[in-house]
């Protein structure tokens, strides 16, 4: 059991059900370490994205999805406070880059503020845009085209813009749902390096199909199978000596 101060999020007995008769995420309990990267792995349909989307309450956007359990962030249960507030504190980056097509690059970075009706002074806006874009290594590439649409950027740049957009709100935790699966290898490497740097400012949970990616960037790994958390622990430990035979056979390419 880790020290509580080193834990950003405690997941306690989390269940998610799309239909009444089947749990897609079944009684998951684990701790997400602060300022580290936690990777969630598992074959398609194992519930890893479902688990991720429960954390920022995305399931509430759709009808009939049941979520139960506790998600404690600094001792406060995310499932019991206002969902809008949860989503401001827990950022999300999606599988496909999704900058807002009608907004400029700068407006995309500031979207979290404008969407929440927060008005900022010009100098404040400029500094948030610059700081956020610098932290994703995009500033030098786009500083002369901040007023252009974000959709003109390459896929990798768009995804970094989306990360900057999430960072701009200064979240405690960022959830990433296979953020590099739509990108080429070079863009993927750039983002992986970026995430390793970013973990000093923010805790990250990343869902990934890519075992190599989990191994390269994460400190903690969770392996899910058929909705259950099979095992979770240090990435090094899991890759060198998995405790469960299902983890072992997934990591050796036999399932998934």
């Amino acid at each position: 059991m880790e020290n509580i101060n080193n834990t950003i999020l405690e997941i306690r007995d989390l269940c998610v059900a799309y239909t009444a008769d089947k749990l897609s995420v079944s009684h998951v309990s684990t701790d997400i370490p602060r300022n580290q990267i936690t990777a969630i792995m598992g074959p398609s349909g194992c519930g890893k994205s479902t688990l991720l989307r429960a954390i920022n309450r995305m399931h509430e956007l759709y009808r009939g999805i049941q979520v139960s359990g506790e998600l404690l962030i600094d001792g406060q249960d995310l499932l019991k406070i206002n969902a809008m507030r949860v989503r401001r504190e827990v950022g999300m980056v999606f599988q496909r880059p999704n900058p807002f097509p009608t907004m400029s690059i700068a407006d995309n970075v500031l979207a979290g503020y404008s969407l929440n009706g927060i008005r900022l002074e010009k100098s404040m806006r400029q500094s948030i845009v610059e700081q956020s874009l610098k932290s994703v290594g995009l500033w030098n590439e786009v500083k002369d085209s901040l007023t252009k649409r974000g959709t003109f950027l390459s896929g990798g740049q768009q995804q970094r813009l989306c990360i900057a957009r999430a960072l701009a709100l200064k979240p405690k935790l960022i959830l990433m749902d296979e953020p590099t699966s739509a990108l080429d290898p070079i863009a993927t490497t750039t983002i992986e390096n970026l995430l390793v740097e970013l973990k000093n400012e923010v805790s990250i949970i990343i869902v990934t199909h890519n075992m190599g990616q989990a191994k390269r960037i994460s400190q903690k790994s969770l392996f899910m199978y058929l909705g259950e958390l099979v095992e979770g622990g240090s990435t090094e430990q899991m890759f060198s000596d998995p405790a469960d035979r299902r983890t072992k056979s997934y990591l050796s390419g036999n399932i998934g």
């Binding site: 949860v86 989503r87 950022g91 999300m92 999704n98 807002f100 009608t102 979207a111 969407l115 709100l169």
Partner: protein, 305 residues
């Protein structure tokens, strides 16, 4: 000898080419002939509008005809101008549009976003679409015997027949066009964009305002352009409700005529210069409507990309 044989061969090939058209070629010919009928009718109609309106345009000149508000035909002194009808058309159309916008946007959001995919949305959508299929004479009858007395009772107009009454019914008629097309464009906004906004803590209303409407905006705009096109040419309902007077409308509560309704009112008793003036109005209406539809189609095409 060899030369002669090859000549014969070539000749027979040539002959078969000329006489026996393959079934494929014949069918294609038939297709062409049948398909050509439609554009030809359109061209013929346009040509007859142009030739039959020539007398009026020669007599008054194009601009004087368009900008004159005279419509008098005492014997020996005929003066016709289209301005009252152009204004009547524009006023009733844009007033109808103003009434239509809030209702069709609400229905579009209801059907296309808030309750999308649910039974209630299908029900509301179907009922809205049903409005589009009601014959305009029924709208006219309802407007004349139900809505008009209400307008009178409210003291808005003595007779109840006025631009406002016509516009109200027109608005009901164009809501389904604007609403169902707008709903389609709202549905097309990718879920991942909406989720991106929700994931930053936006409320549903904020997502609508900052993501859905901007993304669906050009499509919604084109839906309203097509609704305008529909209102411009609506004849029967308007003729029954607008009061049919030939002067420039001075207020929303005054009577008037639209381009369509003046033609419907007077075509039977008109000849000579007056008939030609009606044709001229028809030509102008044709042009305006074609233009509006073209703009709408272009915008929809752009929005769909």
């Amino acid at each position: 000898m060899n030369t002669l044989n090859s000549y014969r061969l070539r000749l027979s090939e040539k002959m078969s080419d000329l006489t026996i058209l393959s079934p494929d070629t014949r069918f294609k010919g038939l297709l062409w002939a049948a398909a050509l009928v439609v554009p030809l009718i359109c061209v013929a109609m346009l040509l007859s509008l142009i030739s039959d309106s020539a007398l009026a345009f020669d007599e008054f000149g194009f601009f004087r005809f368009v900008f004159s508000s005279q419509w008098s035909y005492s014997q020996g002194n005929e003066n016709y101008g289209a301005l009252p009808f152009i204004m009547g058309t524009l006023e009733s159309t844009f007033l109808a549009l103003a009434f239509c916008i809030p209702f069709s946007l609400t229905v579009a959001l209801f059907v296309g976003e808030y309750y999308s995919g649910r039974k209630i949305a299908t029900l509301f959508g179907t009922i809205t679409d049903l409005l589009a299929g009601i014959p305009s004479i029924i709208y006219g009858l309802w407007g004349f015997y139900v809505l008009r007395p209400i307008v009178v009772a409210l003291g808005l107009s003595d007779q109840g027949s006025c631009i406002l009454t016509a516009s109200l019914v027109l608005a009901v008629m164009i809501v389904p066009y604007a609403a169902s097309l707008s709903a389609e464009f709202i549905k097309m906004v990718p879920a991942e964009l909406k989720e991106a906004a929700y994931a930053m803590g936006a409320t549903r209303a904020e997502v609508m305002r900052t993501v859905v409407f901007p993304a669906a905006g050009s499509g919604i705009f084109s839906a309203f352009i097509l609704a305008i096109g529909r209102a411009l040419g609506e004849t029967m309902t308007v003729t029954m409700l607008i009061g049919n007077t030939n002067q420039l409308p001075t207020s929303l509560f005054s009577t008037g005529n639209t381009m369509a309704s003046i033609i419907a009112n007077q075509f039977g008793e008109a000849d000579g210069l007056k008939l030609s003036s009606l044709f001229a109005i028809a030509l102008i209406l044709f042009a305006i409507k074609a233009l509006i539809n073209l703009i709408g189609k272009i915008l929809i095409h752009r929005a769909q990309r």
